[in-house]
Structure formats: C-alpha cells, structure tokens
C-alpha cells in the first residue's frame, strides 16, 4: 500500500510528487473503515456494554459516525490535493518547462491513490 511510504518533502520547484501528504491522509481515511469492520475478532464481544448495548452493537454503530467524519476529512484532503496539483501545473505551464500536460496519462489521479488503499483489502 503506497500510503505506508513516508511523505517525501517537496523539492524546491516541484512537479507535485506522486505521494503527497493529502493523498496519504485520504488513503488512510478510506482504508480505515475496511480494517475496522472486517477485523471481526476485535469487536465480537459482549462487554464493555454501553447503555445496555453489547460491545458488538454499539461499536459498529460508532463506526458509522467515525466513517462519516473520515469521509469529510478525505473529501477536503482530496480537494486540497487537486487544487495544489492544478496550481503546480499552471505554474509549470507558464514556465514552459514541464513535460506534463493535464491529459498526460502518467499523472495519477487522487483516485489512484485511494485505489491502492482498496487493493490492500
């Protein structure tokens, strides 16, 4: 999973790196619910109870709320990443030095990063 790699510190006048901090954050947010929900031995328990609910039930319902928050974080992370990349492309475009164009298939999308996360399931 690519998100496990360290975030490289951006070089001075960068083509935006493949792995950026926002992408790592987004990938984490997207992967976390899968790990939590599919790792059943961690929550197939009766205790601790909450308001009479066995752990099995309130823990999963809690994860609905956690997932909602993770989706908000992931949304802003991806938006930020897209904006940064667009800006970098614009800057590179005016300099005329960048080999990349918006339609260059070698530019991975934010979705590709997230896909790596899904692949780890």
């Amino acid at each position: 999973m690519s998100s496990g790699a360290d975030t490289p510190s951006p070089p001075p006048r960068p083509a935006t790196p493949l792995i950026s901090a926002p992408r790592v954050i987004a990938a984490f947010c997207v992967v976390a619910p899968f790990v939590a929900m599919l790792w059943i031995p961690t929550y197939n328990e009766e205790t601790p109870k909450l308001l009479g609910f066995p752990f099995f039930y309130w823990y999963q319902l809690l994860w609905v709320v956690i997932t909602a928050l993770l989706m908000v974080v992931a949304y802003f992370a991806v938006e930020r990443d897209r904006a940064a990349r667009r800006a970098a492309r614009g800057a590179a475009g005016t300099g005329g030095a960048s080999p990349t164009t918006p339609s260059d298939p070698s530019i991975p999308s934010a979705d590709d990063t997230a896909q790596d996360g899904e692949g780890s399931q």
Binding site: C29, Y57, Q60, A68, Y75, S103, S109, D111
Partner: protein
C-alpha cells in the same frame, strides 16, 4: 399479550392513514413530471436521469431512496429476528459502501458525463469496445434487479398482512391491495420517470425518520427493563434450542465460524451495491463530479438509521413475538411491533413509511433496468437508429415489464426470507465488478478475459445458490455456502468473484500472449477527471447511439 395476526379484523384507522399518504404520494408522483424540467421530456436523459440536474440536496434524498428500502425495514430485521448477530452484517455493509463510493464513483461520473453514458453497460462498451461484454453487464443488471424489486413488494405485503388486509381468502383477494399499490407505482413511473421517485423520496424520508425516532424513543419505554432487557430477551430466545432441530437459532454475538460469513456478506454486499443500475442512476443524475463525495458524510446517516431499525427486531422478541405469533413469517417482525406498540394512527404513519419506502426504490430500480434494456439491448442489437423519443417509449414499456417480472417473483417463490432475494441479486451483479471498476482504472484486462471471468463467476454463483436447500425450500434457501475444499462458509457472491478473478487473470495472460485483438477505447485518461463546471455549466453531451 400478543394477538396472533391471523383472522385479525382490519384496523380502519391504520388503513385510512395509509391510504391518505398513499394518495398524497401518487398525486406527487404524477405532478413530478413538471418539476425541474430542463428540456425535452421525451428525451431519455429527461425521463431516465431527471435531466442530470440534481444537486446535493436532491441527491441525498434520491440515493437514500435508493439504498434504504424494504431491505432496511423488513428484510434485515427479519434476519436478526430469525438468526441474531449474523443479520447485523447490514451495518458494516452500509458503512463500507461509502469509502467504496468515494474511491471510484467520481471517475465513473466523469467519464459518463463526458461521453453521455447513461448506464454502466454504456461505459463498458465505450471502454472495452465489446458489445458482448456490454450485453453481459446489461442483462446481469436487469436480472439482478428483479429480485431486489421483489423484495420491495414483499415489504409492502408484510405491512398489508399485519394491517389485516390480505393474508386470508382467495389468492386474488389476498394480493389485490398489492396489485393496486403496484399499478399506481407503475403508472406514475411511466409518466414522470426519475423525477417521481426523487420528489416522493422527500415524503418517504420524512416519514421514515419520524417513525424511526419515535420508535427508538417510545418502544423501549413500553418494554420494561429497557435496552438491557431487550438484548437479554433476544439472547435467551435465540440460544434456546429449536425443539425439532435441537440447535439454537443463533446468538446476539457471532458464533464460531460465522466471522467469515459476516465479513464476506458485508464486503460482498458493499461492492455489489454500486454495480446495481439503480444505484448508478442516483449518481449519474447528479450535476457535478463532487456532489456525491460532498454528500458522503450526510449519507452515512442512513447507515445509522439502518442499524437502529435492525435492532427493532430484538424489541419485537422482547415484546414477546415469536415465529408463531407472526404467522410463521418473520418478515412481519417490525410491522407487527409497530402495530402492537403504537396507537393506531401512528402505526398507520409507520406502515405508510415502510410502504412508500418500498415504492420509491422499486420505481428507481425499474427505471434503471429500463434504461439498461433500451440502451444496451434494444438500441445495440435491435434498432440502432432509434430516436431519443423512441428510446424513451421503449424504456417506459420495459419499466412495466420489469415490475411484472418482480411481481411474478413474489407470487412464485417462497418469500419468508426476503433478504435472500437481495443477496441472490448480489451474487449475480457482483460479477460485473471487474468489467466496470477495473475498467475505470486500467485497460490491462482483455475484453474477452473479462467476459470469461464474468461467465465463470455467474455460473459458479448460480449453481451454488441453486443447490442450497432447507427444510422449507429446495433451492436458493441460503446465500452463504461452504468454500470448496474447506469447512468454512462464505457469502456465495464473494466466492464466485474469486472464481471470476482467477479465470480473468489466467485467460488475460493467455489472450495477451496470443495478441488477441483488443477493443477500441473511446475514452482518454483525462475523461476520468472531467468536471462539468470547467467545460461550461450544464452542457449536455449528445447521445449518439454507438454501434461498434
């Protein structure tokens, strides 16, 4: 303390309230044709995707109308009522749906908007350049949707039974109310297209939220001991051995060996959901790439609601309902609980919520199946020169046919475990996952390999599902089966997907080595990032029937 529902007189107040709401909804359904009209109503974009004009607010309701259905209110609680914790897989299922949506749906939205794709099969054809693969995806979508619509009808029927209408007498009298509800649904779907369920979804969600909030606060006060007692009573009843089989029905925790079925049911259902044509319709009808992503946090509210509704089944157990007092149909668990706990007028509101909550998705599903048939079977194989108006006419007709197919399902099959309907649909539809989702990222997989993988998955899944028998049913009795050569059970859809993937990978290597001709790809890498805003707001791509 519980009267058997059998022979119960019709509750006039309940029936009156239900009829009132039903009438309101029917009127709204017909008026919807005029709502937010953006262009030529005869065009299939208009009828089938509501003019692709829906923003975040409408989308939230529309997707909710899609996803939370009689499945939520009737089928899932019935599964918990009968078997305990295993049925709670619906909660992790609806949690995992959202990250999956986050990952791939924006790409599907972009490429569909750019090329005017209306259905997943349109995309498959454009991407892989294969009419046969597109046909496979389309037919799978149509067939898999039918049991899902059937599930909605079972939900309506459960409410009608508990109200005391239907259930007795001749077959015709028994099912007459269902036919009437059904005919109204068919009529307004026909005239208004996707706008009808989108508008009605407001009413539906308002009623459902009201019902759920009242139920969750009020019903525990009717059961002494509150939640602690509810779970204790459920545990006692579920672990009591059945007098004939001498085995307990289940437990409020997962039994040994049930972790894998639980996990595979959750992930298999989650991956299957957005392969359904109706779920994609809800997404493609949005007006910007980010509408759905922006809505995800709010959409999870539906998952929370589903979890709470699932637990109503344990309340029904604590209130003393048994299979016997439900007339042997555990689908009645939640409606019967409402009938018991609420005053008649509010029970009527609750039944209306469930019934309308079943009609909305049934409408969306039949529209989606109709779009599929029209675009990917009719235009591709029968009449390539059909005008958009003719396409709309065919779609309208097919939306009727699909609903009657579903009705035949309900009347013809054992409907006592409705969740099996939905899970069976999942077994089939999940086999289209590689062609659609992998295709969004890569063309590494050869079109014929995708088709062979699909065929292997479908055959494996259908045969294994067909062979599941129980005391009451010879076929399709369960959707969880042993993984071959192991003693571990898993959701058949996931085992079948593994078969699908193995065949896909092997045949792909062979076909690539043999340099089999790849199809023509209409799309380019940037299409998957396309945003409507940057390209002129509201620009509508021409639909040109594509014949490859």
């Amino acid at each position: 303390m519980i009267d058997a529902a059998a022979g119960k007189a019709v509750n006039g107040v309940e029936l009156g309230v239900v009829i009132f709401f039903f009438t309101v909804v029917a009127v709204l359904g017909f008026l919807a044709a005029r709502w937010r009209r953006t262009g030529d109503h005869k065009h299939i974009h208009e009828w089938g995707l509501g003019g692709r004009s829906f923003g975040g607010f409408v989308t939230w309701f529309l997707l909710g109308g899609d996803l939370y259905t009689a499945y939520t209110f009737v089928a899932v609680p019935a599964a918990l009522f009968a078997g305990g914790a295993l049925g709670f897989f619906a909660v992790p299922y609806t949690i995992l749906v959202w990250p999956l949506v986050f990952i791939f749906l924006p790409r599907l939205w972009s490429v569909s908007r750019k090329h005017g794709y209306v259905t997943p099969a349109d995309f498959v054809k454009g991407r892989h350049g294969s009419r046969s693969l597109s046909l496979a995806v389309a037919v799978t979508g149509i067939v898999a949707t039918m049991p899902y619509i059937a599930l909605q009808l079972v939900g309506i029927q459960a409410c009608l039974d508990v109200m005391g209408i239907g259930g007795n007498g001749s077959t015709f009298a028994k099912d007459l109310p269902l036919f009437i509800a059904f005919a109204v649904l068919a009529a307004y779907t026909y005239t208004s297209g996707l706008r009808a369920p989108a508008l009605i979804a407001f009413v539906k969600d308002a009623l459902i939220y009201l019902t759920v909030i009242v139920a969750i606060i009020y019903i525990p006060t009717r059961i002494s001991g509150g939640w602690t007692h509810i779970f204790d009573a459920a545990q006692t009843k579920l672990t009591t051995p059945n007098p004939t089989t001498h085995k307990p029905a289940g437990s409020i925790l997962l039994a040994k060996g049930n972790a894998v079925p639980y996990a595979t049911l959750a992930i298999g259902s989650a991956m299957a959901l957005f392969m359904y044509p109706h779920a994609q319709v809800g997404v493609l009808a949005t007006k910007s790439r980010n509408t759905v992503r922006r809505n995800l946090a709010a959409l999870t509210a539906y998952s929370l609601m589903l979890g709470v509704i699932a637990l109503l089944s344990y309340m029904a157990i604590a209130a003393g309902f048994t299979m016997k007092s439900l007339n042997g149909n555990n689908q009645h668990a939640v409606p019967a609980l409402f009938d018991w706990a609420f005053p008649s007028w509010f029970a009527g509101v609750a039944f209306a919520a469930v019934a309308i909550g079943a009609l909305v998705p049934a409408a969306i599903m039949s529209i989606a199946a109709a779009n599929l048939f029209t675009r990917n079977v009719w235009v591709d194989f029968v009449n390539p020169n059909a005008t958009p108006q003719q396409q709309t006419q065919v779609a309208q007709a097919v939306s009727l046919v699909v609903k009657f197919g579903a009705l035949a399902f309900v009347l013809g099959l054992d409907a006592t475990s409705a969740i099996n309907f939905q899970l069976l649909g999942g077994v089939l539809i999940l086999q289209t996952f590689p062609a659609i989702v992998f295709g969004l990222y890569t063309r590494y997989f050869h079109r014929w390999a995708l088709l062979l993988g699909w065929a292997a998955g479908i055959v494996y899944g259908a045969v294994v599902a067909w062979n599941q028998s129980s005391a009451t049913q010879h076929h399709f009795a369960a959707q969880v089966a042993l993984i071959p050569w192991t003693h571990q059970k898993a959701y058949i859809a996931v085992s079948a997907l593994v078969v699908n993937l193995v065949v896909l990978l092997v045949t792909n290597l062979v076909l690539r080595a043999a340099k089999a001709p790849a199809g023509i790809d209409q799309t380019t890498a940037s299409d998957y990032e396309h945003e409507a805003e940057g390209e002129g707001e509201g620009e509508m791509p021409e639909i040109t029937p594509v014949v490859v």
